[in-house]
């Protein structure tokens, strides 16, 4: 099996150049997201629920993935790129690698950090206040896996649609197509789980998302290898630019709505947890009282 260490010096140089070029082209966006992620999760601890990580991953998918996967279509450089020595397979793998690695790093590490309450534990070494008071890990635990897999599946769908797009409009709305597909898949899978086990337990949905993402990327890779280069057209004109801006604006709106839904569900969950906790306390009190009541002279 070919690995980076078994490549020739020339191959390594080419892969590095490809990766650097992709990183430079989208570096500022990635750094922006990385800073936002670090601040939100590790400093301000705003991300205290897996739902927020899903929202973060989806926002990344809306803002970065179409532009990265469909860069050649937006700029009219597909002929130029396809004629270079690395070829389209290397282009696809490089872009996918950078995007997926960034997404999995942020959502995966974020999910782990939340599951183990790491940021708050670290902050509590420095100071103890309301904001650093340790949270109880959110249940059910499959939400942590979903926080990684839902954005990954949305990324996979968006990346493949944008890569294979024949027009700039398709690139602009690629995230929407992927979101609909992932949304339907998750909803259907959770419904099936509810039917089988009375309530969603998540593992089937997680497996479905994982398999779906891998198969989508694999099919996209094979199709991209056979893709015909889009001819000419120059970079995005006024109309294409407007479409892209409108598509991204819709994406941000969807993101805002998703955040709202997450907030509401998080609040209701917190209230429910508190209520459950209060009832438990009352039950304990009742237990404590019961022996006294039974000793009736």
């Amino acid at each position: 099996m070919t690995t980076f260490s078994t490549l020739t010096d020339a191959d390594r140089r080419v892969w590095t150049a490809l990766a650097l070029r992709q990183w430079v082209a989208f570096g500022s966006l990635h750094i922006g997201f990385l800073v936002a992620w670090l601040v939100a999760l590790w400093v301000l601890q705003l991300v205290a629920h897996p739902g927020w990580l899903i929202a973060f991953g989806l926002l990344y998918t809306v803002l970065v993935t179409p532009g990265m996967a469909g860069a050649d279509i937006m700029d009219g450089t597909e002929e130029f790129s396809f004629a270079l020595p690395p070829g389209r397979r290397a282009i696809f793998l490089t872009r996918m690698g950078i995007g997926l690695a960034f997404l999995l790093l942020t959502t995966g590490l974020g999910s782990l950090a939340m599951a183990f309450d790491v940021p708050q534990a670290l902050w509590s070494l420095v100071a103890t206040s309301g904001i650093t008071e340790p949270n109880r890990p959110v249940t059910p635990s499959f939400l942590y896996a979903l926080a990684v897999l839902v954005p990954a599946a949305a990324f996979a769908g968006t990346f493949v649609v944008a890569s294979l797009a024949g027009t700039r409009t398709i690139v602009g709305v690629s995230w929407g197509i992927a979101f609909v597909a992932v949304g339907i898949g998750v909803f259907a899978s959770l419904q099936v789980e509810s039917l089988i086990w009375d309530k969603p337990i998540g593992w089937m949905t997680c497996v479905m998302l994982l398999l779906g993402s891998v198969l989508t990327l694999l099919a996209g890779f094979l199709a991209y290898d056979q893709k015909e280069a889009l001819i000419g057209g120059g970079r995005a004109g006024a109309r294409s630019g407007t479409i892209a801006v409108v598509a991204i604006a819709i994406g941000i709106t969807v993101f805002a709505l998703a955040m709202f839904v997450v907030s509401v569900s998080y609040q209701s969950m917190t209230v429910r947890e508190v209520r459950d906790q209060s009832m438990t306390v009352r039950e304990v009190d009742a237990l404590r009282v019961t022996p006294l009541e039974t000793v009736d002279p």
Binding site: V14, T16, T77
Partner: protein
């Protein structure tokens, strides 16, 4: 010069809805040739070059560069071929300096000194993003990238399109420098500017309606065609009179003007020996040849394809 580095056999490509761009094309470019592909707009030249580069999938036939389908060739082979498209855009956010640095990583044979020399000759600002350069300057950058990679094969689609005469001359000189570096470089390019083609090409191919109408060494093509004018003593050209090897004819009263393919050195001499006729013979420039061939009835191309001198040496 015997082995072909570019070879297409029965190459065909149709775009939806039913636009036949390339139709059973056969093309063979010998190693070391400078091959000019000419034809009218829509003849299928650009599509042919894209098929050769693996940018489009053929519906039928094969297209090989350096012995393989270049799309699936390993990087070592792909880096020996460069391509400049007619409508090609460069990454507009990058500067020419950044793009040349990128190319130096992708191509093992990248020649920085040659690239720097071409930049100086073309008087390019390499520090500005490419999107802010004029179309002509972007085209020059694309040509510099294609030549300074020192490939074995360069494929250029209308490289001089949109360039002023001075820039065109610089481009031709750059190509000549590239070809004269001692390596056996092959260039395949399409153009409408026949003067440029005559200056650098040693082989040409005429394309029409997706087919190769005629191809071969430039000298043989030009030397093998004549415009022959025959003036009869009567008031009209006798019916049924035909000059041997006649490809195209025009009559005006007693004057017959024909484009004749020379298959026999005495072909015209025999006519001149007839006393009743006044026969004059003129050689054809490339432009004359092009116009005469392109205006010809496409249904009678069979005899052209079968002529003995159209094939490569």
């Amino acid at each position: 010069m015997n082995d072909a580095v570019i070879e297409a056999i029965d190459l065909s490509k149709t775009f939806r809805p039913a636009v036949v761009a390339v139709n059973g094309l056969d093309l063979r470019v010998p190693r070391g040739a400078v091959y000019g592909l000419i034809g009218r707009n829509g003849a299928g030249k650009s599509t042919t070059l894209r098929l050769l580069m693996g940018l489009l999938r053929p519906d039928r036939g094969t297209a090989h560069v350096l012995g393989s389908d270049i799309k699936d060739a390993p990087r070592e082979t792909r880096q020996r071929v460069t391509y400049v498209s007619q409508e090609q855009q460069l990454p507009w956010r990058m500067t020419a300096d950044e793009l040349m640095a990128y190319f130096s990583q992708l191509y093992d044979q990248w020649d920085t000194a040659f690239a720097t020399d071409l930049v100086r000759r073309f008087d390019l600002d390499t520090t500005r993003p490419l999107g802010t350069l004029s179309g002509g300057d972007q085209r020059r950058v694309a040509v510099i990238l294609a030549l300074a990679a020192r490939p074995d094969v360069v494929i250029l689609d209308e490289p001089a399109a949109g360039l002023d005469p001075v820039s065109r001359r610089q481009l031709i000189e750059a190509m000549i420098d590239f070809l004269g570096d001692g390596g056996e470089r092959t260039v395949l390019f399409s153009t409408h500017i026949l003067a440029d083609l005559e200056r650098v090409a040693d082989h040409i191919g005429f394309m029409d309606r997706g087919r190769m109408m005629l191809s071969g060494p430039l000298d043989a093509l030009q030397g093998g065609m004549r415009r022959v004018q025959v003036i009869f003593s009567g008031d009209r050209v006798p019916s049924g009179f035909e000059i041997p090897g006649e490809l195209r004819r025009r009559t005006d009263g007693p004057v017959l003007t024909a484009i004749v393919r020379l298959t026999d050195p005495d072909q015209v001499n025999r006519l001149q020996a007839i006393e009743e006729l006044r026969v004059t013979e003129h050689s054809l420039g490339l432009e004359d040849l092009f116009i005469e061939l392109m205006e010809r009835d496409p249904h009678s191309m069979g005899d052209l394809q079968s002529s003995p001198w159209w094939q490569h040496a």
